[in-house]
Symmetry: C2
Subunit: 372 residues, 2 copies
């Protein structure tokens, strides 16, 4: 399926170095996989000893351990998950709900985050289970997975609309970590990890101011978006730190390309900004449209910075400068918090706030030495 040319070749020619249990005529395993009891018999020990060899090797005498490990290798034994899950009341699965993909948006944050989370989880011995639900019911799906003990914990991502999930999960003592701050409820005691959007926009704005711009406009989301207002505050702070006025320079719209396009057109007409900082790459793309329509060159005539460092920002021309969230790091922190949370919910946890970085590309232009 993948749109990827066959650049690399499979390195090893014969990928069949896997030790299997009872080798058969064709070298192909059949029948049921080996169990703990099989290993125990082969090694001449009890089941529990095999279990210990797997889970707490330090309990065994070195020679016994070696004998058991040999038997495990011979048979290609791996513990049966279902049995282990049943006994330990844990699934080693993390539930992640993915919302409907946003077509027509440049947003690729989720994709990158999911991948990072999968990687980070693996190192902690977890796998990621995906489920979906429509945006109208933020709770759908969680309940069933929880009651059927299908997952050990959740990672909650869509906290942008205030997060009823957080409170709901907290009420049921379900272990979870949120990617996103508990905007509504400062007293919420659950674990969370977030990226400092204000700092990101401050970074972007300062970058533009350093280049000599003085009239930097903001295009963001509606006022009821906490994330949007947070990001906006970064722009506002950077401007006021240098005693620059922001009046008439801000616009709040929907997160679509056309909104960004019309908002930037209006701003250019009414406030004559020389640069734009946007709450998303989607909006920034709208700005680029406007500039193109007016024959203005992004980067040279008017600078633009987006937010999310989407794939689009990377491939569009001119390259779109953008604030990049450290999603790999977020995932690591989320998993770290998860390990704290599992088993003992309801303990208070500190949130983790990470700083984004700025990817500078041509849309924020070459260095200007002189202002105006």
């Amino acid at each position: 399926m993948e749109s990827e040319p066959a650049r690399r070749r499979p390195s090893s020619p014969a990928p069949s170095q896997v030790p299997r249990h009872v080798s058969e005529p064709g070298g192909v395993p059949s029948g049921s996989p080996p169990t703990l009891a099989d290993v125990a018999e082969r090694a001449g020990v009890s089941r529990q000893t095999v279990s210990n060899a797997v889970n707490s090797p330090d309990l065994l005498r070195p020679d016994t351990l070696a004998r058991v490990q040999q038997a495990i290798a011979d048979l290609g034994y791996l513990p049966n998950r279902a049995a282990r899950n049943l006994r330990t009341r844990a699934s080693h699965l993390i539930g992640l709900r993915i919302a409907a993909a946003q077509e027509g948006t440049a947003n690729a944050t989720m994709d990158r985050f999911v991948h990072s989370l999968v990687d980070a989880s693996r190192e902690a011995g977890y796998h990621v289970l995906l489920f979906s639900g429509d945006a109208s019911d933020p709770l759908a799906g969680y309940d069933d997975l929880l009651r059927s003990t299908a997952v050990d914990a959740f990672v909650v991502t869509d906290t942008y609309l205030g997060n009823p999930q957080a409170r709901w999960l907290d009420d049921r003592r379900a272990p979870f970590v949120a990617f996103g701050r508990p905007w509504d409820d400062g007293a919420a005691g659950h674990a969370w990890v977030d990226v400092d959007g204000a700092a990101g926009c401050e970074l972007a704005t300062a970058h533009l101011l350093d280049k000599g711009h003085t009239r930097v406009a903001w295009i963001g989301w509606h006022k009821d978006s906490r994330i949007g207002e947070d990001r906006r505050s970064g722009w506002h702070r950077a401007m006021h730190d240098r005693d620059l006025s922001t009046t008439g320079l801000a616009s709040r719209v929907e997160d679509t390309v056309t909104s960004g396009r019309s908002a930037s057109a209006v701003l250019l007409d009414e406030a004559a900004p020389t640069a734009f900082v946007c709450a998303s790459d989607t909006l920034a793309m709208g700005v680029l449209h406007t500039l193109g329509e007016r024959g203005l060159r992004a980067g040279d005539d008017v600078a633009v910075v987006g937010f999310d460092d989407s794939l689009t920002a990377q491939v569009v021309r001119p390259g779109l400068s953008s604030v990049r969230q450290p999603l790999e790091q977020v995932a690591v922190e989320v998993v770290r918090a998860l390990e704290q949370v599992v088993g003992r919910p309801r303990t208070r946890h500190r949130g983790v706030l990470l700083s984004p970085t700025l990817e500078v590309r041509d849309s924020s232009g070459p260095v200007r030495d002189t202002a105006q």
Copy 2:
């Protein structure tokens, strides 16, 4: 939904035995979730009868069924996955390996597919378990999940480099469905679903020819990419169907924006095409760059069509016409095939080939009535 909060009250005829999952002062359930035995006791039947009520309701007498269902509802019972998995030797989980995200590429295919697969799976009673592995070892991860019986089946996606996974999984009799044809091995008996890339490119090319273009160039991937060659053949076929020459009009490069940019520059200089069909949106973006540099207007002066209908294609200006894979449909077919495959591997399966569609945007321009 079954998201029933703890509003249930202990029904009027004061039950002497307190159900373990009784609602508490705060309305918050605590302790361990109710089990089959709890439901059985409350309904005054045996465990097996409750099990039947859940799995084969038609075996019960209507009045018994009603009584059991009432008890289930009262207690908010949901079967424990681990126990069920252990007994039935099935996890109701589908393993999907996601490769490292490709930065600097417009590709968002995987994202869309994952989402579609999650939706399609849910309707079939499955969940999707993600795992990862680096591209160097295409087999990593599969083995462990298989031996630990963590998943029932796999969906294999990265078949672009020939798929050693397919053969390997086939050898172990592991149930799986491939998204992507078995290019190497026409005799492969496993189930697969794929999108007809050739048809897509033929569609794109015919669309351009209909608009009056006669010199339509191709930018694709290296010759050892089976997918690339397949897509190319669609362009080739469309051209030859109308007795148009293709000599000097094709270029094969890596899947990067810069490759697309330089390839299109060379083609414009040497073969003067008036339109481009590309094997990916990434390459098409490169073409747009070249046009921009030369002051040519995409759509008006030179037409461009990409492949994948990425988010970038949707938000860039001018909108990039692109071949769109019916991933939702692919996911549905994959799950359908999966249901066939699970339980009885090694039976031969027919492949399913789906047709992509063409999303026409401004980059393939307004209708031209006259050729030339």
